[in-house]
């Protein structure tokens, strides 16, 4: 009997598998849902949104047919509001706080936000203009959600903003890191365009520290916003890691968003190591690339897994299998250096660690082998320590230290925001949080520079 997965996944047309899963609202659906909103006063959903979008107002505007106004309300609070409409864990944020949870069912805020921003995208609307030039220059390193958000706000204040981006395209995680079937690239590109229309210069293919020095930026700009995010997946430090068929999950997802989709995974067995949202992405992308069997192995249990519930459910729908309390020992290859399997330990949970999660401990003589044609590593992300050190700012294992009041690093000319300041145990690294931090960093710079009287 064909499973649901088999019906949805095409082995002939892989592109089709990467089309957006969730359908947007029709006009009528959006109007009906918008009319259901109570238009609360001092609404809890606003407080639950890290960027503080005035949600009842944007929903009211959908109901009245003022879609341009609705999109402006969203995007003025969140410069990447179109992406967030698709990727925010809304059940845990705005929708989770909707008062209708206590009477009927919550308003589908994310879908309404998507409806309004999709309207602006489809109708090619420019929502904001640059402020009158104030002659001050700000460099932003990284064109991801935090960097774009900071750039947008600074440009509206009249700053001369230049973003330096190492990748070919701007957008960061939204462009390269979030799977296409959740967030099509065109959404991220539209947000980038909105920022560009404020006269923000985005220098792509320009890695700070390689193509331009940190020193030069410090000399040429009045302020610097460090928003470089995080790097690739770190090494597992196990045997076989360099075999042909071992992938970095970040790179693996990025490959599905750039150029032609690989045909190499059709009918293959894939093992993903880790159980965060990136691991889920690696697994569901593998399924969509035609893999016959995809297993996620995790050294702890479903309890400790950091992936969102809806991501976990989504992976299960895709037929992804989960092997809990399983840790990799070594990756096995054939005589040609190609992956053929992965040897694992069975684990058990010991005493709690500093973060409260119980430490996984390997069970002796429990080794077993899982056959695999590919292994995808998704055990976290490295830090851009080298770049951080070129700026000479304080950090802790690559997490830039900032004054929580003003986002300032140890160098008063540099503020930092987004994943680059995201440390363990400090909530969740969400796009929406990065966007808010970018805004706050921009406001801090503006506060500092507009209070200093400019030299005549």
């Amino acid at each position: 009997m064909p499973t649901e997965k088999m019906q949805r996944i095409s082995l002939i047309n892989l592109e089709q598998n990467f089309q957006e899963v969730e359908q947007g609202y029709s006009n009528q659906e959006a109007t009906e849902e918008a009319n259901r909103c109570l238009y609360c006063y001092d609404a809890p959903c606003i407080k639950a949104c890290p960027t503080g979008i005035d949600i009842p107002t944007f929903i009211k505007k959908i109901a009245s047919g003022n879609l341009l106004g609705s999109a402006k309300t969203i995007m003025s609070s969140n410069p990447v509001g179109a992406s967030c409409a698709r990727v925010c864990p809304t059940e845990e944020l705005c929708e989770g706080s909707c008062v209708l949870n206590y009477s009927t069912s919550p308003i589908m805020i994310g879908k309404l936000q998507r409806f309004a921003t999709d309207w602006a995208i489809q109708n090619d609307r420019t929502l904001f203009g640059p402020g009158p030039s104030n002659g001050k220059k700000v460099a932003i390193i990284g064109a991801g959600p935090a960097g774009l958000s900071a750039a947008r706000e600074l440009a509206r204040f009249g700053y001369d903003v230049t973003i330096f981006e190492a990748a070919e395209k701007a957008g960061g995680l939204n462009t390269y890191g979030i799977v296409s079937f959740r967030l099509p690239q065109r959404i991220s590109y539209w947000e980038v365009e909105q920022v560009k229309k404020l006269n923000v210069k985005i220098r792509t293919n320009t890695a700070v520290g390689k193509d331009i020095s940190a020193q030069e930026l410090l000399e040429k700009f009045d302020r610097i916003v460090l928003a470089v995010g995080m790097g690739n997946v770190p090494s597992l430090e196990i045997e076989g890691e360099n075999l042909n068929g071992v992938y970095d999950a970040i790179e693996f997802v990025k490959a599905t968003k750039t150029g032609k989709l690989s045909q190499h995974f059709i009918g293959k067995k894939v093992v993903v190591i880790g159980a965060g949202n990136t691991a889920i992405d690696g697994a569901t992308c593998s399924v969509r690339l035609g893999a016959e069997n995809v297993k996620i192995i995790y050294r702890r249990t479903a309890e400790e897994m950091t992936a969102y519930d809806f991501e976990y459910e989504f992976a299960k729908m895709d037929g992804v299998e989960f092997r809990w309390l399983t840790a990799p020992k070594r990756i096995l290859g054939d005589e040609n250096g190609k992956v053929i399997g992965i040897e694992c330990y069975k684990m058990k949970l010991g005493d709690p660690e500093a973060d409260g999660r119980r430490r996984p401990v390997a069970i002796q003589n429990s080794e077993f082998v899982i056959q695999a044609d590919a292994v995808i590593k998704a055990i976290g992300q490295t830090r851009h320590i080298n770049l951080i050190e070129q700026f000479g700012i304080a950090h802790e294992n690559g997490v830039v230290q900032v004054n929580p009041q003003n986002w300032q690093t140890s160098n008063p000319k540099i503020v930092a925001c987004g994943d680059v300041i995201f440390g363990k145990g400090k909530g969740e690294a969400m796009v929406v949080t990065a966007a808010q931090q970018g805004k706050m960093a921009a406001y801090e710079i503006h506060k500092q520079l507009s209070s200093v009287s400019s030299p005549v």
Partner: protein, 427 residues
């Protein structure tokens, strides 16, 4: 099961639900379908000299996605030959002898015209007549419909002419497009009407198209006022029915019309003095089948109240409807918020704060949870908070202990006047 039969001025029907004279009663086919669905009676689409209609004819008002909150039309009386209508009325009455078939009539205000049509219609066996003095558009421009219905003398005279020849009960249908409907109701009674029905539709312009700037509905880009009906007009109609019901000079039965959409509305109209009700918009919105719930719902309601016959409820609320000057100035209620039911949307707070009496406070309890509380000493008992509250049972309006004995404005003025007289006398 309660007895749902009614007798309105001698017209009997198996239940109080009649279709009003309108598009749903345009033909024998439709009226027979309606009777099969369960409607107790039908007032046939108004008969008169054949007319011409325009397209388009109807418009609806949606409110926050709810369609047909209000409805309007610029359709005229029947556009079918009188002979055809009379033949179908005859056939319908033959098939459904126990259902009420009433002919709605509209002719020019001339005695012989009324005499002629009344005779022809009664010849085919109708149970009663309804004189259409209410249609506000088209026909009114030709001196008929509401043009007649707005002049009490014309209402009285034409009713009298009809009564000169009519053998069946005569209902006069009144227009609401008048300052005081009791004036025309009284005129109808004086002319000999056996009953009155109200309301006909209200003068209305449904809207303007934001792109074409055309009126809605429009005919080749041009519009004219239409007749407004549907759920939105119910409060207006109910007040007019109640005003006639409590009027000492109007002592004939009332057929209630105006936004009646379900059995609950029907009960309200009957409690306020209607002997039966007429429905149009609800049928146009949902089809004839809605009558099934109307009948069943009314039945269950009467059973639950231990009422044997629907006629027992007629007018039971009329004594409770009066003038403002008869209301007790010393009666006090205040809002009370049930924090266990409240979902903290703060709609009551902002409504009271911005637009009423600033007596709802936003507080935080010892656990840091926010809640709302009414400052009862400042609450004027206006109901606004409980009206805007989206959750059933979250706000109750509580009767406060009396501090003073009941006193109405009229009583108060009487006391003051008496005191003033005494002062005058003592001078």
């Amino acid at each position: 099961m309660a007895d749902l039969r009614i007798n309105l001025a001698g017209i009997e029907s198996p239940n109080p639900f009649w279709l009003a004279s309108a598009p749903p009663t345009n033909s024998g086919y439709q009226v027979q379908r309606a009777f099969e669905a369960g409607w107790g009676g039908a007032v046939w689409k108004t008969l008169g000299d054949p007319i011409l209609n325009v397209t388009s004819r109807f418009a609806g008002i949606s409110f926050n996605g709810q369609r047909v909150a209000g409805f309007n039309n610029i359709e005229l009386i029947t556009d079918r030959p009188l002979d055809v209508n009379l033949k179908e009325i005859y056939e319908t009455k033959k098939k459904f002898p126990n259902h009420a078939v009433i002919a709605s009539l509209m002719v020019e205000p001339q005695q012989e015209k009324w005499h002629e049509i009344v005779k022809r219609v009664e010849d085919v066996g109708v149970d009663g007549l309804e004189l259409n003095f209410g249609c506000p558009h088209g026909m009114a421009e030709r001196g008929m419909g509401s043009a007649s219905g707005q002049v009490p003398a014309l209402v009285e005279r034409q009713t009298y002419w009809v009564k000169e020849v009519a053998k069946t009960p005569v209902i006069v249908k009144l227009t609401p497009n008048i300052t005081d409907i009791t004036a025309t109701a009284e005129a109808a009674a004086n002319g000999g009407a056996d009953a009155i029905s109200m309301i006909n539709t209200i003068n209305s312009l449904m809207g303007v198209d934001l792109d074409t700037w055309n009126p809605i509905p429009h005919v080749a880009g041009k519009g004219a006022h239409g007749g407004y009906c549907g759920p939105a007009v119910k409060p207006i109609a109910l007040n007019m029915v109640a005003d006639c019901a409590r009027h000492p000079q109007i002592n004939i039965p009332i057929s209630g019309i105006g936004g009646i959409s379900n059995w609950r509305d029907a009960v309200e109209f009957m409690l306020m003095g209607a002997t039966g009700v007429q429905v149009c918009t609800a049928a146009m919105h949902h089809g004839f089948r809605i009558v099934e719930d109307m009948i069943e719902g009314l039945n269950h309601y009467l059973d639950s109240k231990g009422i044997v016959s629907v006629s027992e409820i007629i007018g039971k609320s009329v004594p409770k409807y009066s003038d403002w000057g008869d209301l007790d100035l010393n009666y006090n209620i205040a809002a009370r918020i049930n924090t266990d039911v409240c979902i903290n949307c703060n709609k009551c707070y902002i409504a009271c704060e911005d637009t009423s009496h600033q007596c709802i406070e936003r507080l935080t309890d010892s656990t840091g949870k926010s809640y709302l509380k009414v400052r009862e000493e400042d609450c004027v008992g206006c109901n606004l908070c409980s009206i805007v509250c989206p959750v059933d049972g979250a706000i109750d309006m509580i009767e406060l202990p009396r501090e003073l004995p009941p006193m109405t404005w009229n009583e108060r003025q009487a006391v003051l006047n008496a005191a003033a007289c005494k002062v005058d006398i003592s001078k």
